[in-house]
Symmetry: C3
Subunit: 186 residues, 3 copies
């Protein structure tokens, strides 16, 4: 009988008390519920590679133009991209999707960018999309951005993606390794 | 007495155990907690419609300009917009808010865009805003983007919005149906 | 024995029943789990202040350019920024981080912008980043945007940030007070 009272109180507490608190204060599990690693490959248009280019400058400051990356760490260059995503680091591997969006070089004295983009999957393994946003201080070995949402197989996903410049050639080719850790899976 | 021990253990488990797990692994309800359908209307500036235009090209690749949409599926065109939102598909219905933000055409061989924008409401029905981001492969009948946050009546909202091109006239007028499904409501 | 049955039922209910519903419908706590106030300082390039400027126009409509803010409420101007963040309202205080990203003036008849940016912290107090997106109707005394994610000390954060124009000088200097209220803390 006493136990039943405790159970009832516990029950009431759970429904009206801890759930409200839990929303903000609960101890959360920092182990990812899903983890995925991909590479994507950016070939920037430089005036001579129209056929192969997967990205292009579309905004630039008053002192620059849309063909040549600006001085001062490319500050002010806005680049749009549609890059192939591969499972390994080979540009010529069969793409599993496209990385689509933009980056803006946003600092004068060091290479840093702001990223807004999606991974759009259309393979036997994955369909749907993951959306990303965040700061990319690209001289750092690794840098974390946010997974701000997802659709399809990645419905309502949230998490963190760790970017790493896996390789680059001059100012034309960049390969980014993306280690995606989702902490909210539906 | 035995029951009380079980209750206590259960209690401890709930506080320190399952809540942490629950954060990532709990079974979630895929029924929307709120659903809303709106239309928004984009009239793109083309050099001759300054008065009626609700959007304009503000970034373009080296081979294009800010008045005429670029070739190659408009790849590289950045468009800013401030479009009226209506409850039905009539451009002249009383707007309930404004769709404000940008899209970038991001693919050379097919029409695809990346969207970042907000619905800003100021009507008797809704005040506040919903923020969106995601890929828009606009040749698909429907495409899903993420609701990445909200304010006011839509405080802390998250969800998925399904876009559908409801109508278009040449390259000037586009009407988008937006079916918003929120799965996190506060 | 009866109590143990109740406990068991309660347990099953918690695991398979209420958790699923709770995801969407639980009563949530609208008190922030973390609150932070910062100022950031934007000095816009105007052709004569290259040394001090922390931001620059990098996209503009057909009728404007990248040096002078456009007419019609700057409609169509895209600005990239890398602004110092301070704890008080003094531009010359030691910065605790940088506000990096962009805004686009998106309305012809009133000053309104769309923001996508990050606070990147690198101080003894905070490391990591907070990512923001939303509409900024900047003639309003205060306006709310979304905290769409975070990394490092702000791992997986979500919330609302209230912006207030704390001061401005002509069209060159803007100081924004940012009152950050996080409602999801991990």
């Amino acid at each position: 009988m006493g136990a039943r009272v405790i159970v009832s109180l516990l029950f009431l507490f759970l429904i009206f008390g801890s759930n409200a608190d839990a929303a903000n204060k609960r101890i959360r599990d920092r182990r990812p519920c899903k983890r995925l690693v991909f590479f994507f490959h950016d070939v920037l248009y430089n005036g001579n590679n129209a056929k192969n280019a997967t990205s292009a400058i579309i905004g630039a400051p008053a002192w620059a133009n849309q063909t040549i990356l600006a001085g001062q760490s490319h500050f002010g260059d806005l680049v749009v991209f549609d890059d192939p995503i591969t499972l390994d680091n080979n540009l010529h591997s069969k793409p599993v999707g496209r990385a689509q969006g933009f980056y803006i070089y946003d600092k004068k004295d060091i290479f840093t960018a702001w990223l807004g983009f999606s991974f759009v999957f259309n393979s036997t393994q994955h369909t749907g999309s993951l959306n990303f946003a965040g700061a990319d201080p690209l001289m750092n070995k690794t840098r974390d951005i946010s997974v701000i949402g997802g659709t399809g197989d990645f419905f309502m996903a949230r998490g963190v993606a760790t970017l790493m410049t896996d390789s680059f050639e001059g100012e034309v080719y960049f390969r980014l390794r993306t280690d995606i850790k989702l902490y909210e899976c539906w």
